[in-house]
Symmetry: none
DNA sequence: ATTGAATATTGGTATAGACAACTATATTGC
DNA sequence: GCAATATAGTTGTCTATACCAATATTCAAT
């Protein structure tokens, strides 16, 4: 179980070993772990070394400790990371729904000042503008307008756009999207949104504007989405530092 | 600087002391800290105790360490904390605005089924209900309804609520809020919200429902907030895994 | 001047032991 | 029976020490 001669630190070996027990279900949420001294004796390692392993797992929220009682497995194992950057397709799949798209418009436009600044390119530079209706279970969920510098992703076609853009960019072009920022606000649907999303006039909508970046920190895309408030809620995990 | 006879752990004293130096600007981003051995000798404490303080600050992203080189102050210590769980007061401060509150209502109510389930208590159990208007620069920003189990936080008074609830809970009761989840959706203001937030009828609003948890994974509070869409945008950082 | 080896300094891992603070259980005294 | 006390077991804090691994510096050989 623990190899003292391994170049891998002992505390790290123990960490992985405990994680394994949790993930395989041999340790269930709420279960008490053996005490630090028990681990120490069982593996012939110092209690401080055991503590280092446990402290790390506590920081990662796999375990929690109560002084005088013991160390226990966290109730809510590992929630999937929302606040993760996901494509619409991935997002809907995580919600157990089937995603599809309807391409409304696909063209190359010159960047206006605001867009050029957001994409970090020259004004009037060529930009793909992709306007799509996003559907879940064939019901309109969002209107999405994606802007990508045409110099960055060359040879984009409407065929590719109809399938998964992220898949093409990551698997074929080998560009790696690493993160971004997203601004969320509430609003009332405008005429175009009312029509395309098939909702009543004056319906509330959630507007999300995302900017995603590649490994080298260049801006990859700007996405403006309008989500139907009656069909979409946004959930995030919070951590207090 | 360090009081060995204080009931406050030495590593915690050192932690606060270093944080102070960073926040006061005496240690600037990129600066190297004294080495662990220097701290150890200067304060007459063990190197392992110094390490415990530094490890905590590294976990909180105040510092970073490089083996063989030293320990340094993080470049962007405050940038990272969106998707961080913040109180309204902290949130507004980060936006450069002054926060205040108006207490609308403070009472103890019996939990209905939904609330009892969310707070993980018995149905009809006593729950503090705190209704507050949150203002930024003295303009209404949000209507906030907070629900806390009365058995968990005893002796809450309207005086405490008028000041900072998080401060009281963390500093006086020594409860540690570690995280939570938040659901965001768009809607139209109802009559009460229109009146209290001083907005036109049919105005769009952003509704956020937060559940925060303590170290031992018990639910601490449920907060339902209604934010004026014209005054509030929500920004998060995204990471792709 | 440049290279290369030795030395010093830094953080990383690990040990052994001590006592404190807290919890649960068993025992004692009434 | 019940309450107070003792005891054992848990995590929390702290010390002192040792050696490893990575980096920086010093100094000698070329």
């Amino acid at each position: 179980m623990i190899d003292k001669n391994s170049p891998i630190p002992i505390y790290h070996q123990l960490e992985e070993s405990i994680k394994q027990l949790i993930e395989s279900g041999q340790l269930k949420p709420g279960d008490a772990l053996p005490s630090e001294r028990e681990y120490s004796e069982q593996f012939g390692i110092s209690r401080m070394t055991v503590r280092q392993a446990i402290i790390n797992l506590v920081n990662e929220r796999f375990l929690y400790r109560v002084r005088g009682k013991g160390t226990f497995v966290m109730e809510q194992k590992f929630e999937q990371n929302l606040q993760g950057l996901t494509s619409f397709t991935e997002d809907m799949k995580a919600r157990g729904m089937e995603a599809s798209s309807k391409l409304i418009n696909f063209e190359i436009i010159p960047a206006d000042a605001k867009l050029a600044s957001a994409l970090n390119i020259q004004e009037h530079g060529p930009v793909y503008k992709i306007k799509r209706i996003r559907l879940a279970e064939n019901i309109p969920m969002a209107l999405e307008r994606t802007y990508i510098s045409a110099n960055l992703v060359q040879g984009l076609t409407s065929e590719i756009v109809k399938n998964s853009l992220y898949y093409y960019v990551e698997e074929t072009l080998h560009m790696k999207i690493v993160g971004g920022t997203q601004v969320i606000e509430a609003s009332i649907a405008n005429k175009e949104e009312v029509k395309l999303l098939e909702i009543p006039e004056l319906s509330p909508v959630m507007i999300m504007e995302r900017s995603s970046k590649l490994e080298d920190n260049t801006v990859f895309e700007i996405v403006k989405s309008t989500y139907r408030a009656d069909r979409y809620k946004f959930m995030i995990d919070l951590k207090r530092f």
